[in-house]
Assembly symmetry: C2
Homo-oligomer: 260 residues x 2
């Protein structure tokens, strides 16, 4: 496949074009798109024409937006969709019982990526959003997935330099190592105020049929007076339901036993 | 951008690779992928390497799957995500009150594309699925969106040759034209048995803040004894809530007035 003079692959140029659209920029004019991608206008316009021909971009008056066809193509084959479809009814149960924001997240590269979120207007501050990312060390979902992940991923995580987001964000590797051991022992993670001071995250792991921790199920509750114990109980109950919906046969595998 | 000897654009070859993955084929070996796309192996493998480098494909052992990063890139900038996030709480309300499958669909190209679905295990047969398509003329969502769409789109639709899916699927243009007029008058569409004989679809339009019918909100109920009137009432109530969540200020614009 032809690479540009700068050595960029065609796929990389396409990624730059798709990534230029986001929640703050759902539509772009062709000139804005060229500017945001840093591609030469002629290159950007040529790729845009090909993307329009395949309905991967749609016209919105004089502006461009990601095509619904692109969402469809990606959603059909994506493991994200199967996971969130399995989880959604159980997330509704948690939200109904606990009454606060409920999220489902996975680890992707070096972040937590939230793939579903049920909000509550009357609850506390929650900055997660669907397809949004947060740092692993500052979120209950990130720590619970790391604690039940591979030893190798844990060591890689503990070697990284981690930013402090609030007064209570833990960044010391030895303290994090102790926290991970506690989470493996208890089966849940409670993180008060590590992203925003007024909220506490509570998370448990969700296991696939083969016992791999594939997602973190979490609620975000008020730090003062939030229902921590009820949240843990509701999350653990729902997480077993999601595993069963994913094909788990109900027998306790090692990883699941450790988390209960 | 370099085109292949066959004249295929690079973007078209990428689409063939992404489209090769679907619900039945969530993972493919490189050889299977080359076979399903019909691309020469050397071409397919070269594109796969570039997609792996950008995390648009992930390795799953010896097999390949669509990358979570691809879902993330597309979801962030997609109008589908904003629409389904606004609609989801109201869809839960409909499901709780009516007790049957609830779906949200849009028209894309010449089909209804379902972007969300809340299922019910105890209800009737419903073949919709998220990111799945059904024909416009056989679905309540398709007809309701056509009825409240542009006159031009209606004429294009009525000129198409339409397949008969069941005994009750209407394909005659003049009968369809009368049905569209009825839907504009009543504000809803009830379709008994046009996709599967034992189920009835009921749909209402969802309007954006500027009064455009952007989605159809629908329930699928049993054809015998299903709660048609309660479904219409619940759907109309929820559709107003979704419009408000999308920024509608509550004043009745023409299109919305016609639908109430």
């Amino acid at each position: 496949m032809a690479n540009s003079a700068s050595g960029d692959s065609m796929v990389h140029r396409l990624v730059r074009i798709i990534a230029a659209f986001d929640e703050e920029h759902p539509t772009l004019s062709p000139a804005e798109l060229a500017r945001r991608t840093g591609l030469p206008s002629s290159t950007a316009y040529r790729i845009v024409d090909e993307l329009l021909a395949e309905s991967l971009l749609d016209r919105d008056g004089q502006r461009l937006r990601l095509g619904t066809r692109l969402w469809e193509l990606v959603s059909r084959g994506s493991k994200v969709l199967g996971l969130r479809e399995a989880a959604l009814p159980f997330m509704e149960d948690v939200q109904a019982v606990v009454g606060h924001h409920t999220t489902l997240g996975v680890i992707d590269q070096q972040d937590v990526l939230y793939i579903e979120r049920l909000g509550s207007d009357t609850s506390t501050v929650n900055i997660t959003r669907v397809a949004g990312r947060l740092p692993i060390h500052a979120t209950s979902t990130g720590l619970v997935l790391t604690a039940f992940g591979s030893a190798e991923a844990q060591e890689t995580f503990l070697r990284r330099r981690l930013p402090k987001l609030t007064d209570t964000t833990v960044t010391d590797p030895e303290e994090l190592r102790r926290m991970l051991a506690d989470i493996r022992h208890s089966g849940f993670c409670v993180m008060p105020g590590t992203i925003v001071p007024e909220s506490t995250g509570v998370a448990v792991p969700v296991f696939s049929a083969d016992g791999t921790a594939i997602a973190g199920l979490s609620v975000v509750i008020p730090r003062e007076g939030g229902p921590v114990q009820a949240s843990i109980t509701a999350l653990q109950t729902a997480a077993r339901g999601i595993s069963r919906a994913l094909g788990w046969d109900g027998t306790l595998r090692d990883a699941i036993r450790r988390s209960l």
